[in-house]
Symmetry: C2
Subunit: 431 residues, 2 copies
């Protein structure tokens, strides 16, 4: 049986430092959990001379990745440098050298997950990535183990803390998107280039990872339909509240028969939905399993310690497997052929906010667009706006298909009676 385990770390930023601190500071607990000591052997850094937040012996540092991924004594490589191409190369090299790999890299897993997992499988290595999805929530382990015997048909996630923080603040303090984004950037909750967060790309990566695992299909980032939050206005949030909804950026993955849909988009949730009460920078993943019904997992989405905790949990799992000689058994490459739903097969309800001409016949002309497409309305509100000759109409449809909705959208846009489609969101709930 393996009597001690050596770990190589790629990267020593905030998460890497957290991992070092947890591994060095919890030696006794680790020993008790895995039965043998775990050492940090080498750490790849960019600059050997830089001051560090964590205490680490200088001789452990290296500026050459080769010293980690080719090191003969290193058993486990933890990748926390981020980025795509270099990280991919290092991980492939490590796996081909029969080293187990733990990564927090969602960008990489969303793009190259299938390749990396099959390389791990081929080499009999573990490749764990709990930290890539929702820092502090053990959601991947839950999907792999806890819900193993269930058939998962629906996953909905608030998987990006920055956008949830922004939407919460906009809603509670009645501020605009721009105002809150600026504040979030000042507080360090949003990056100086916030595109990946606010346009939903970060969330889409995580949903690709979750959907791949939950549905056992190779869902690629490109398969995820994405819409961000930067066009949401205070008026939209105001109407949402009035109708009993909360606006959230929701990652949505559904399976019907063998076909799936995966999207990330601003969505109106009924206030009674478990995800509606997830506030601030928190994350949550809601899962519907045929047997278990509704479950939800809530927690911090990111942060140094939550992410480091997930990585160390993965490390414990790898070391246990090493001691038992069973690595690579729980790496499961996707089992089913990917089949994406067509627009005709995707069902949903939709919210529209429209500015229309305030004149006789408008209303019947408007509703007939929906009627002609066999879509009935669940909620409808009309009120005057300050602008001359314009009325605002806000409505929510009953359940329809994405295809029908696209047709309605086009017809509304092209008809003379609608001056402008102010906003347009998906609504959760209903049959």
């Amino acid at each position: 049986m393996v009597e001690n385990v050596s770990v190589g770390l790629l990267g020593l930023g905030t998460v890497g430092s957290g991992v070092v601190r947890m591994v060095e500071g919890h030696q006794e607990e680790l020993l008790h959990r895995v039965g043998c000591p775990v050492y940090i052997e080498k750490v790849l850094v960019q600059n050997l001379e830089k001051e560090r937040a964590c205490v680490i012996k200088p001789e452990l540092l290296t500026s050459s990745a080769e010293d980690v991924v080719n090191h003969p004594d290193i058993d486990v490589v933890i990748e926390v440098i981020g980025g795509i191409e270099q990280a991919r190369e290092y991980i492939l090299q490590a796996l081909n050298n029969k080293k187990h790999v733990i990564t927090a890299n969602k960008d990489l897993m969303a793009l190259h997950g299938a390749e990396l997992l099959s390389t791990a499988e081929k080499n009999g290595c573990d490749l764990f990535y709990e930290a890539s999805v929702a820092g502090g929530i053990p959601i991947i382990r839950t999907l792999v183990d806890g819900l193993a015997s269930d058939r998962i048909t629906k996953m909905m996630g608030i998987v990006n803390g920055t956008t949830n923080y922004i939407l919460t603040k906009m809603d509670k303090q009645n501020l605009t998107f721009e105002e809150v984004l600026k504040e979030a950037q000042e507080l360090g909750y949003a990056e100086s280039d916030p595109t990946s967060d606010v346009e939903g790309i970060d969330a889409a990566r995580k949903m690709a990872i979750l959907a791949s695992l939950g549905f056992s299909m190779n869902i690629h980032l490109d398969d995820v339909e994405v819409k961000g939050i930067s066009n949401i206005t205070s008026e939209d949030l105001e109407y949402a509240r009035q109708f009993g909804y909360s606006m959230k950026l929701i990652g949505n993955a559904r399976k019907d028969g063998g076909k799936v849909e995966v999207s990330v988009e601003p969505t109106l949730l009924p206030d009674t939905h478990p995800l509606a009460s997830v506030q601030n920078e928190n994350n949550a993943v809601y899962i519907y399993g045929e047997a278990v019904g509704e479950t939800m997992f809530f927690g911090p989405g990111a942060g140094q310690l939550p992410t480091a905790t997930s990585i160390v949990s993965d490390l414990v799992a790898v070391v246990r497997n090493m001691r038992l000689g069973v690595n690579g058994k729980s790496v499961v490459a996707p089992q089913f052929e990917k089949q994406l739903k067509q627009a005709e097969e995707i069902e949903g309800k939709y919210f529209y906010r429209l500015h229309v001409k305030d004149e006789a016949g408008t209303f019947s002309a408007l509703t007939s667009v929906f009627a002609e497409n066999q879509v009935s309305l669940e909620k409808l509100l009309q009120k005057p706006v300050d602008e001359d000759g314009v009325a605002e109409v806000v409505l929510v449809t009953h359940t329809t298909t994405k295809h029908q909705n696209e047709q309605i959208y086009q017809q509304l846009r092209d008809t003379g009676i609608v001056k402008v489609i102010k906003s347009h969101y998906r609504v959760e709930g209903g049959a």
Copy 2:
């Protein structure tokens, strides 16, 4: 390597039938997950002739437990008969016969968990009990694996669906405890003898199991301080709302230094607390880990399918371990000596609703009771009641100790100015 696995079932009630249906109906998925077929070999029933909800070959049924626990071919015994003494005996016998055991029996695990776990460890057998705590929530696996590297300092749970259903209905529909209980009994959400649920005993069992695991101490049912919900009135809920709280029956387990407290009691939660929004018969467990911070796991607390799902997940884990030859390794008997906090060491805020004499000097006499005990008040409300010469005072203290609070309670009870202590609850939140 093990090439097929035989399962014996003790009990064929609703949960047992669910397990049979899932094992028989998911053969292909099971095969894929564990790599070998899993058969049901024998099922203990009380009455061989009874009509059954699930299709099962008559020759599999037996009315003798010996046919299951001593059966030479049976590898895994699933106990779903409930009760204490007989179940304990069967499980001990099965473990001593080197059979792995899965149980959904919280009563048994809360009382005899330590004995059963050490018997399992001694025999190199798995003893899994995910279904015993919160039917559909994989909370035990999360504590054992997902949060393995963290130090858990606080667990709060809504772990009884019946009481949460009753409190939700009382609050939303402004009904009395008795009215909702009657309705719940008619709907089958509450048992005809509801004592174990409404007096908090069921929740206390689950908290004993969670605390034992989370703190790695042998916490016994008797170590859990218990108070039920049967005395909660509509007035209490009304004031709670007014103060910004939700009333929930909360299982509370905390660790400070090496000492722990475990209780189940009606508790006022700030509306912003993640547990405050858990409605109806749902369960949720909130965990605070030093590294991960706040996490919460939400789901159905019981029900045939959620419970059967948890059992089948445990079965998958047992079979995987069998195939790898590593059973008994993840059975961890408590590591730390049990140390319970004294009343002086337990901190909390408290809510009081008092009827006092409506006369000059009452208010200062009342507040001086708190002042003398060095407890300051956070919220205070006085209003007249219809009764002659009586005023109602509702207050919430700042953080104090349980000991100080008990002294205050006694002094209030014994002083002439308080006519009656109408109610008295713990309040969550604050330092």
